[in-house]
């Protein structure tokens, strides 16, 4: 990869990242100063951030250097510095802009994050990705995470970041936010958990019986195509009827609205990735190994536990990962059916036309999904038996 031929070419990934970051820094509004949290206000460019604007321009220029510098290592360093630097400087730039713009305004005035910030973050992500291709080591990622966290912590407490509208929305909702986040995580986890409890045996059955396979894979596939909101709506009537008819279930919370339809819908959505990956994982075990195992006198269950499951486990975990990421997103929709989770913030934000409230629901959801993705990827890697690692 570090061949001399490559050094004479520009790094196109880094170039794209730098161009995106440049566009965010120059062509799009950085922040919006609004008289209150609901009405639109004046857009301000990056220059509102004062000296931090200059710092960001320099960092974008470093991003361009990452595309054009000769040699792999200088490019890598420039790309990493640019990516991490842009994210860290943005925290301080936002704080600085908020303090400057809010000086002399009424207490209900708000400074909201503008499109330019998101675009610059995207550019930084691309620049960071350009570097990551070559550094397999996790060390620089740890350093990057530490730098970014420190910058946000500092900007929050010293640099005025706490005056950004998003933070103000959080402050208003602080008492309920953590509860909603907890509910969100609990509901999504319960959906994944039930999906695994039902999906793994179904996947196993699919490997054992051709007819079952057709039905199971077909039905879970069809479920996946039903729009989430429609599925929630369709569940309301049968679940409320069920709750009415069986008092014991009603006591457990089975009703037409609330967490119950959400959990049912989420479980159904979790089934496809779990069932499919279980089926693929188990059926990709070498038939010769199965034949040898049975021929040597393993029972069906010994073969399953000692050979088939250990070999299929990484793929099964990968299905769980897909389900988890999917469900964390879909969980926000269950708020429409009365479940209380981060989706509530998004719905209220939509209702009030308060973009920062929408963000307060959406950003933690995205972070949960990314965290679940990273965690379960690591688990899948950890359970891959040494003998079959690539």
């Amino acid at each position: 990869m570090a061949g001399p031929a490559e050094q004479t070419h520009i790094d196109r990934v880094a170039l794209v990242g730098a161009v995106v970051a440049l566009a965010g820094a120059t062509m799009l509004p950085f922040v919006e100063l609004r008289p209150n949290r609901l009405v639109p206000g004046d857009l301000h460019g990056l220059i509102a951030a004062g000296p931090w604007a200059f710092a960001l321009w320099v960092l974008v220029a470093v991003g361009f250097a990452a595309a054009f510098l000769p040699g792999v290592k200088p490019r890598l360093i420039a790309g990493s510095v640019s990516a991490v630097g842009i994210v860290a400087a943005l925290a301080w730039a936002l704080g600085s802009a908020a303090e400057t713009l809010l000086a002399g305004q009424t207490p209900v005035s708000r400074v909201s994050i503008g499109a330019g910030v998101w675009v610059m973050l995207a550019g930084a992500a691309i620049l960071g990705f350009a570097g990551q291709e070559r550094t397999r080591g996790a060390r620089w990622r740890l350093v990057a995470a530490a730098v970014v966290l420190a910058a946000f912590f500092g900007a929050f407490h010293l640099g005025g970041l706490e005056r950004i509208s998003l933070v103000r929305e959080f402050e208003v909702r602080a008492s309920s936010f953590w509860g909603l986040l907890g509910n969100h995580l609990a509901l999504a986890s319960a959906g994944v958990g039930l999906g695994v409890v039902l999906g793994v045996p179904l996947g196993l059955l699919a490997t054992r019986n051709r007819r079952v396979r057709g039905v199971v894979l077909g039905v879970t596939g069809v479920i996946q195509t039903v729009p989430s909101l429609a599925l929630l709506g369709l569940l309301i009537v049968p679940l409320s009827a069920l709750g009415q008819a069986v008092p014991a279930l009603r006591a457990l919370g089975v009703r037409g609205i609330g967490a119950a339809p959400g959990l049912v819908a989420l479980t159904l959505y979790a089934l496809l990735p779990v069932v499919r990956n279980t089926y693929v994982g188990l059926s990709s075990v070498d038939p010769a190994a199965v034949d040898a195992g049975l021929g040597m006198g393993m029972s069906r269950s010994q073969l399953l536990m000692r050979v088939e499951f250990p070999l299929a486990l990484p793929l099964i975990i990968d299905g769980v990962r897909t389900a988890a990421v999917l469900l964390i997103g879909i969980t926000t929709l269950t708020a429409f059916a009365g479940a209380r989770n981060l989706g509530v913030l998004i719905i209220e934000g939509l209702g009030q036309f308060a973009p920062d409230l929408i963000l307060l629901g959406a950003l933690p959801t995205i972070m949960l999904a990314v965290a679940a993705d990273a965690t379960l990827s690591a688990v899948a890697k950890a359970v891959t038996p040494e003998g079959v690692r690539a």
Binding site: M296, G297, V307
Partner: protein, 376 residues
């Protein structure tokens, strides 16, 4: 030891194995052979009940296999298949220990057994026990497959084209090793192959099948000398005489040649040769140096000049070499005879073209001697 009585397997209207009966004695290698779809693999898989017979019965050590719990039966029958089927997530030692673990052996005993078997199969335990299957070559993997089948010391081995997927050179090596191990362990072996040469080389008994029916069940010599019908005759091939040589070892037909020691001098050499034209020349410790043509001595050449020196590795064979290999070596070198030496290149005897010819003709007394029987 293993007895099939009217064993039949039907799939709907098709009969894969039709009323098959034969008996394999303890310590014998029985090779099932025939064209694809003849039912040989089905027969093998019925013995360990991977396929259940639809008729007849199979007895192993006098007991009907249907009367035993199926797992217990299978653990007493070592099983080797062409595609090997090593477990990729287990090490070589872990793979070999599969059946011992099922039988509840303790760890030190399993480890000791795995090392023993690796040694037996010519894989140094220190280098191999912790390797994973993907790190093995095809030949190594199949050795591990055989070791795994032998782990719990089952009295019976079922082998389904075990060397079919290995390259020809390695296959021959594996066959030789299998013959060596079998001489040592004396398992009762059912061996499926479609390779008639492999069958002749390894079998005590050959069962030739076609369309689920047994065509002939006999020793390789009988199959070669007296094919039961046209199918067997054609299946064995036109080169039956040549195939017969596979069953005869050099030690069965070799004779003592004229020899002379290197330090005998010209006259000594001429005298030692007697009336023979060629005489082997040896070191005092018996190692082969070459030979002399006595006519060269007669023409007045000195002994030193008359000697044709040879590389013993190239121009000699071992006593346990098959006569066919010896013949092919003679043809390759253009000799009418070839020296037989031990592993230290000491001369043991010679094999001549005439003796090969004699062995080729039917009814020769040597042909009745199976390759494995009188070795060691």
């Amino acid at each position: 030891m293993i007895r099939l009585e009217g064993v039949t397997r039907r799939y709907g209207d098709t009969v894969a194995v039709d009323d098959l009966s034969f008996e394999v004695a303890e310590g014998e290698v029985c090779v099932l052979i025939g064209p694809s779809g003849c039912g040989k693999t089905t027969t093998l898989r019925m013995i360990n009940r991977l396929i259940e017979p639809t008729g007849g019965r199979i007895l192993v050590q006098g007991r009907d296999i249907m009367s035993l719990p199926v797992e217990e039966l299978r653990r007493s029958l070592g099983y080797v298949i062409q595609s090997i089927g090593l477990f990729p997530h287990l090490t070589v030692a872990g793979n070999i220990s599969v059946v011992p673990r099922l039988l509840g052996w303790d760890k030190p005993r399993m480890a000791k057994r795995a090392d023993e078997l690796l040694q037996l199969l010519g894989l140094p335990p220190d280098a191999y026990r912790d390797k994973y299957p993907r790190q093995l070559s095809g030949g190594e993997a199949q050795r591990v497959g055989v070791a795994r089948a032998l782990a719990a010391d089952p009295p019976v081995l079922l082998m389904d084209e075990p060397f079919g997927a290995v390259d020809p050179l390695n296959r021959e090596r594996l066959q030789t090793e299998f013959a060596r191990i079998q001489r040592e362990l004396r398992k009762t072996v059912i061996f499926v192959t479609h390779d008639i040469d492999e069958a002749i080389r390894l079998a005590d008994k050959i069962a030739i099948m076609r369309d689920g029916k047994l065509q002939q069940f006999d020793t390789p010599e009988e199959v070669l000398n007296h094919p039961a019908n046209k199918f067997v005759h054609d299946f064995v091939g036109a080169d039956r005489a040549l195939k017969r040589l596979v069953r005869v070892k050099v030690s069965d037909v070799m004779r003592s040649p004229a020899t002379v020691l290197m330090d005998a001098g010209d006259i000594g050499m001429r005298e030692a040769a007697g009336r023979r034209r060629f005489t082997y020349v040896l070191e005092p410790d018996g190692r082969l140096i070459g030979w002399i043509d006595t006519r060269d001595i007669d023409r007045g050449l000195s002994a030193e000049d008359a000697i044709t020196r040879v590389d013993p590795g190239e121009a000699s064979v071992r006593p346990d070499t098959s006569l066919r290999d010896a013949l092919s070596r003679m043809l390759g070198l253009g000799f009418r005879s070839i020296a037989v030496t031990d592993e230290h290149c000491r001369l043991l005897g010679e094999v001549t073209f005439a003796s090969v010819e004699a062995a080729m003709s039917e009814g020769d007394e040597h042909i009745a001697a199976p390759v494995e029987a009188d070795a060691g």
